[in-house]
C-alpha cells in the first residue's frame, strides 16, 4: 500500500547544530505538508509544498520537495531548544483517492 517513510525516527542534537528529517513516498504526491507537534501538544501545520523541486524557507527552517514529488526534507539551521518536538510529514497521494498519508515522525531533542 501507499507509504511515507520518514527518517530518522529520533535525533538528539546540541543547541546550535543543524537538523534534517527526510520523507520518502512510495507513490507520487500531489502535495506534501509538514507539521510540528510539541511534547504533550497537537500537530500544528508548518507548510505545504506543491510544485516539483519547490523550496520554501521559514526563518531557520528550509523545506524541499523533490523533483519527482516523491520525497521531501525539512532542515533546521542552528537548532534552539524551542525546536524540540516531533516533526511529521504528510503527503497527499496524487492518485484517485487523494489520501493524506502520514509519516511516522522524527522526534527532535535539543541539548542546551
Amino acid at each position: 500500500g501507499q507509504q511515507v517513510m520518514q527518517i530518522p525516527q529520533y535525533q538528539h542534537v546540541q543547541e546550535g547544530e543543524d537538523f534534517t528529517t527526510y520523507c520518502n513516498s512510495s507513490t507520487t504526491l500531489s502535495n506534501i505538508q509538514w507539521y510540528k507537534q510539541r511534547p504533550g501538544g497537537h500537530p500544528v501545520f508548518l507548510i505545504q509544498l506543491v510544485k516539483s523541486g519547490e523550496v520554501k524557507k521559514q526563518k531557520r527552517l528550509t523545506f524541499q520537495f523533490g523533483e519527482a514529488k516523491k520525497n521531501s526534507s525539512l532542515h533546521i539551521t542552528a537548532t534552539q531548544t524551542t525546536d524540540v518536538g516531533t516533526y511529521f510529514c504528510a503527503g497527499v497521494d496524487a492518485g484517485n483517492n487523494r489520501k493524506l498519508i502520514w509519516g511516522l515522525g522524527t522526534s527532535l531533542a535539543v541539548n542546551p
Partner: protein
C-alpha cells in the same frame, strides 16, 4: 484565530463502556477528521467526514466506532464498547478542502481505558 475545540480533554472509562468524544470544527470548514495517537507513536487516521457522511475510513475504524454530525457545529466520535487498546489521544481536525490546505487540529481528548 479560529480553532478546533474538543471535549473532554481527558476521559477515564472502564473497559466495555461507551465513550463519546466531541469536537467543534472551524465553522466554514467542510471536511472533518478523527485521528488517534497512541503515546509516543505516529498520528493514525481513523475517519474523514464530508457532506454528512463518511468519505473514508481506516482499518482501525471498525464497527465499534461511529461518527456523527448531529447539528451544524458538533462532530462526535463514539466508541461503543471500549477496549484497553483504545487508550490513546484522539485528535479532531478540519479543513476547507479535501486534498490541500492546512489541517487544523484540536488539542485532543485523552482516553484512558481501565
Amino acid at each position: 484565530e479560529p480553532e478546533v475545540t474538543q471535549t473532554p480533554s481527558h476521559q477515564v472509562t472502564q473497559m466495555g463502556q461507551e465513550v463519546i468524544l466531541r469536537c467543534v470544527p472551524i465553522s466554514n470548514h467542510l471536511y472533518f477528521y478523527w485521528y488517534r495517537q497512541i503515546l509516543g507513536q505516529k498520528v493514525e487516521f481513523l475517519v474523514s467526514f464530508y457532506n454528512n457522511e463518511i468519505s473514508e475510513k481506516s482499518e482501525i475504524f471498525d464497527d465499534q466506532f461511529s461518527v456523527e454530525r448531529p447539528d451544524g457545529s458538533n462532530f462526535t466520535l463514539k466508541i461503543r464498547s471500549t477496549k484497553l487498546e483504545d487508550s490513546a489521544m484522539y485528535f479532531c481536525a478540519s479543513r476547507w478542502q479535501w486534498d490541500t490546505g492546512e489541517l487544523f487540529f484540536g488539542e485532543g481528548s485523552r482516553l484512558t481505558v481501565l
